[in-house]
């Protein structure tokens, strides 16, 4: 069985697209082969800046012959219908078979689809893959109409069987497939032919191209580490940069360079950002001092002077960049030491969002909210207010203007320079956290208060102007903000009702709430409710990842305190645990039975059976036992719920399982005696009501 090798050779492919593209090539080609009836062994995809490559082992030389049977018209059908069938099936009249069916004799045709060679199939599949490739952005070039990420220059496509290789006949808009490729642009120019994947990979290596991006990344990592070590430094880990740089070179040559003395006192984050964003340099850090002292750049070429010229050029460019950064830093320090007043004023002219007004207005709202939240999470309201007031000041600084990703980080430096307390300075940085599901959650109380204020204000603002996320669209990262609120509360084990803060946030955004003295007033309730529901939905997603199912959370959200996320989670965990027991599972069945009977009866009778049952109408022993169990259970559950001992509450609820089951066994609810019937229905109502203190079991699925 032949092996397949494909290479699509082009001008430089953007680094960030290479990995996905090589995977798409693999998935689409192998998918196409499979669909055409070919089986094959392992497949491997590779990418360099100038090529996507795919190797598929052991491809069937031929797809299997398929015989298909097709039912036609009846023997006595009009001639036209039969002719039409013959045309459609592509068979002759004499090849038809007549069979007896219930309604008479019917024609059948056997259609044989002969297998096709791998060559034909590969050519067809590859052409379609090239023409429909899912590049994030593609282009045309020259006078042609073919689209690729950058001009496609050549296609290598061969099938190798033993020692013999053959080119797959294929031509896409004048680019004919062949068996040749190119090595390194500068170090080994010119084309060479290959007969197999191993020849291809080895031939490239000989010509200074490392095909496998993983190997390039490893080579860079190892060399950077050893360069760092030789200078007594360590590489600042940066997986994103490593992946990007691996996509910028075919032949990685890491070189270590120096940073001019004059720039070494810049904050390490500034050095790192400047070197990373503009120059794609790795930062080398002094493990003791924490300062960044050198860099590693990765060239794509070995030179006669061992990279001396390249390094000198890179150092020169870096010096120009860093003198800009130093200029910003020194200007910023003057404003910071002056108390940052100029920056705060400038926030009045910076738009946060078109309809949501300026950053200054946002800061004012955050400050109010942070002061309200602070006592509830145990932070000093003065510090929290001060931190919120200056948290966005660095957005006006020159450094953040140049490196937006340093927002917060610079804020912390500048707050320290402004002489503000440590808690305030730290909150300037930490209030943006957590930024994603794996980002660390701040634990300092002032940071927690300001971070909550920041995220709640964002959510409330976009809710107020009706810019909620829809489907996959979430341009303002509101799902992330909601998850941030959830993680800040839960991971810090903070007990707080969100409703109050949501309400005051909406008021601050000009969305008043209802008049508390007017029961019929629902002003602004829809937005408030919708936001809390959104947070609940994110909570379900968050807890699902921790193994808590959404209906268990629904059962707990249906109760008082649904805006106290820690309470909801404690309840849900206890409920989930009790549901895993035999008693718990059966209790749910018993509860649902009781609930169904009761609901049907209430609907039929048009009354609510909530007057309470009377033990004097109890007939059977089981009925009396349930009475006692309910009295006991009610007391235990309400005591446990009050103490927030949800395990005990759920346990007490589960203990009702025995008496409820026995009751249903012994007693018929819909008795002919109306008094007995009503009493029993009232008893079912008590079951529902008592269980509901712990959780709303009717929300559970299954």
């Amino acid at each position: 069985m032949p092996d397949l090798l494909i290479e699509l050779f082009s001008e430089e492919i953007p680094a960030r697209m290479q990995r996905r593209a090589s995977e798409d090539l693999r998935d689409r080609v192998t998918g196409g082969l499979r669909e055409a009836g070919l089986t094959f062994g392992e497949s491997h995809a590779y990418a360099t800046p100038r090529r996507l490559a795919l190797a598929v082992e052991g491809v069937d030389a031929q797809s299997p012959t398929v015989v298909e049977e097709r039912k036609g018209p009846r023997a006595d059908a009009p001639e036209k219908a039969i002719e039409g069938f013959l045309r459609g099936a592509g068979v002759a009249r004499e090849d038809l078979e007549l069979r007896d069916e219930k309604k008479g004799q019917v024609y059948f045709a056997k259609i044989t689809k002969p297998g096709r060679s791998a060559d034909v199939i590969v050519a067809e599949v590859l052409e379609s893959v090239v023409r429909n490739f899912p590049w994030p952005k593609s282009m045309r070039w020259g006078a042609g109409s073919l689209r690729w990420v950058r001009p496609l220059q050549s296609i290598l496509c061969i099938l190798t069987e033993g020692d013999a290789a053959r080119v797959v006949a294929l031509d896409i808009d004048g680019i004919a497939a062949g068996d040749t490729t190119e090595g390194h642009r500068f170090m080994a120019p010119g084309r060479f032919a290959v007969g197999s994947f191993s020849e291809y990979e080895a031939g490239l290596l000989e010509r200074k191209v490392v095909l496998n991006p993983k190997e390039r990344a490893e080579a860079i990592e190892t060399a950077a580490e050893s360069l760092a070590q030789s200078a007594g430094l360590e590489v600042v880990p940066d997986a994103g940069l490593l992946a990007e740089v691996s996509g910028l070179v075919e032949w990685p040559v890491p070189l270590m360079g120096e940073i001019e003395e004059a720039f070494l006192d810049l904050p390490p984050e500034v050095l790192q950002s400047s070197m990373r964003e503009h120059q794609k340099f790795f930062s080398l850090r002094n493990p003791e001092a924490g300062q960044i002292e050198r860099f590693v750049t990765v060239a794509n070429v070995e030179t006669a002077d061992d990279g001396v010229t390249i390094l000198a050029g890179n150092q020169k460019v870096l010096a120009a960049r860093l003198s800009d950064a130093k200029f910003f830093w020194e200007n910023d320090l003057r404003v910071a030491r002056d108390g940052m007043g100029a920056w705060l004023e400038k926030l009045e002219n910076v738009t946060f969002e078109r309809t949501l007004g300026t950053q200054a207005a946002r800061v004012a709202r955050m400050e109010t909210l942070a002061r309200e939240i602070a006592p509830v999470v145990g932070a000093d309201p003065e510090l929290a207010g001060e931190a919120a007031r200056v948290a966005k000041a660095d957005l006006s600084s020159e450094m953040v203007n140049e490196f937006p990703e340093l927002q917060g980080v610079m804020g912390r430096y500048y707050a320290v320079e402004a002489g503000l307390p440590e808690d305030v300075a730290v909150a300037c940085e930490e209030h943006y956290s957590p930024l994603g599901p794996s980002d660390e959650v701040p634990t300092r109380l002032v940071s927690v208060a300001v971070a909550l204020a920041d995220k709640l204000d964002t959510l409330i603002g976009f809710w107020a102007i009706d810019q909620k996320p829809t489907g996959s669209k979430d341009p303002f990262a509101l799902r992330r903000a909601a998850l941030g609120v959830i993680r800040l509360v839960l991971e810090n084990e903070k007990r707080l009702g969100l409703r109050n803060f949501i309400n005051s946030g909406f008021v601050a955004h000009g969305v008043p709430g209802p008049d508390p003295s007017d029961q019929e007033d629902f002003t602004g309730m829809a937005q408030r409710f919708s936001l809390l529901t959104f947070i609940h939905d994110r909570l379900k997603v968050y807890l699902r990842d921790q193994g808590l199912s959404h209906d268990v959370i629904d059962a707990c959200l249906a109760l008082e305190g649904d805006d106290d996320l820690a309470l909801v989670v404690a309840r849900a965990r206890a409920l989930q645990a009790v549901l895993a027991t035999d008693d718990g599972e059966n209790l749910v069945q018993g509860f649902k039975r009781a609930n169904n009977i009761l609901t049907q009866a209430e609907e039929k009778d048009g009354v609510e059976y909530s007057y309470g049952a009377d033990i004097k109408f109890a007939e059977a022993a089981e009925e009396r036992t349930l009475f006692e169990a309910l009295d006991r259970g009610e007391a235990e559950i309400s005591k446990a719920v009050l103490a927030e001992d949800f395990e005990a509450a759920m346990g007490a609820m589960a203990a009702l399982r025995g008496p409820i089951d026995a009751f249903f066994e012994a007693v018929q609810i819909n008795s002919d005696n109306d008094i007995l019937r009503r009493n029993r229905l009232n008893m079912l109502s008590r079951i529902r009501q008592i269980c509901r203190q712990a959780a709303d079991l009717s929300r559970l699925e299954g």
Binding site: E11, E12, M139, A143, G144, R150, Q153, V301, I310, G313
Partner: protein
Amino acid sequence: MSEMPEKPRSFQEIILRLQSYWASQGCAIMQPYDMEVGAGTFHPATTLRSLGSRAWAAAYVQPSRRPTDGRYGENPNRLQHYYQYQVLIKPSPPDLQDLYLGSLKAIGIDMGLHDIRFVEDDWESPTLGAWGLGWEVWCDGMEVSQFTYFQQVGGHDCRPVSGELTYGLERLAMYVLGVDHVMEMPFNDPDAPIALRYGDVFRQTEEEYSRHNFDAANTDVLLRHFEEAEAACEALLSVPEEDPKTGKRIIMAHPAYDQCIKASHIFNLLDARGVISVTERQAYIGRVRALAKQCADAYVRTDAGGFDA
């Protein structure tokens, strides 16, 4: 590898070598456009000629003005007036990357010693309603050129596609000549009887224009000129195509485009004067883009624009 040419010794030698290199590759060597523009792309030899089906190959130096970049001649790398070298070939030839690398070699960059890289950079000009895909070209970590395959100009799909190369001449020359401050760069042969440095030619003008751009340009006049250029552009395009005097179909795409360029430069000046707010900014850019688009619409109805070709 073939012999490396000797290193150039002055700014003008680099320009001359680029001129003769691209001339030898078959480009028409054009002269700079006689109007103030922000970049070489604005020259009609690029903007308009990239439209339509007719083949084209041109190269030229274009003095370019970015009023906000003025630094009174003190910053080593920033100028409000600088030179771009621009190459436009339509349809883009299959070996354009190699041709480009040849031009670097011609100005003394030895591929055996330097690290040349094509790093993703998608080009977009909101004022011209144009975009393309390509790279910024790095030499030892420094951006030395912009390399773009035009996909759309003035809202029109480019068919065929033009390949555009833009070299920032001062920066490139400083690197090749090993100069740290632009004003120190030899302009002509350093051994000439009257040797001139870049600063001898341009330090004073940088000072004068910096003051002009930031503080002195009359914003009321500029605002009025903007409106006038806009109106003139639209008026020129709205006259009937047939010229009553000659009886010929004469669409005034180029004169209209001059007004578009003018509006664009006035906008840049107003921006430098700080009289345009963030929200107004978008609106101004949109107005210039609308003009560029109308000029493109008109140009493709002309002979040079491939009408009936």
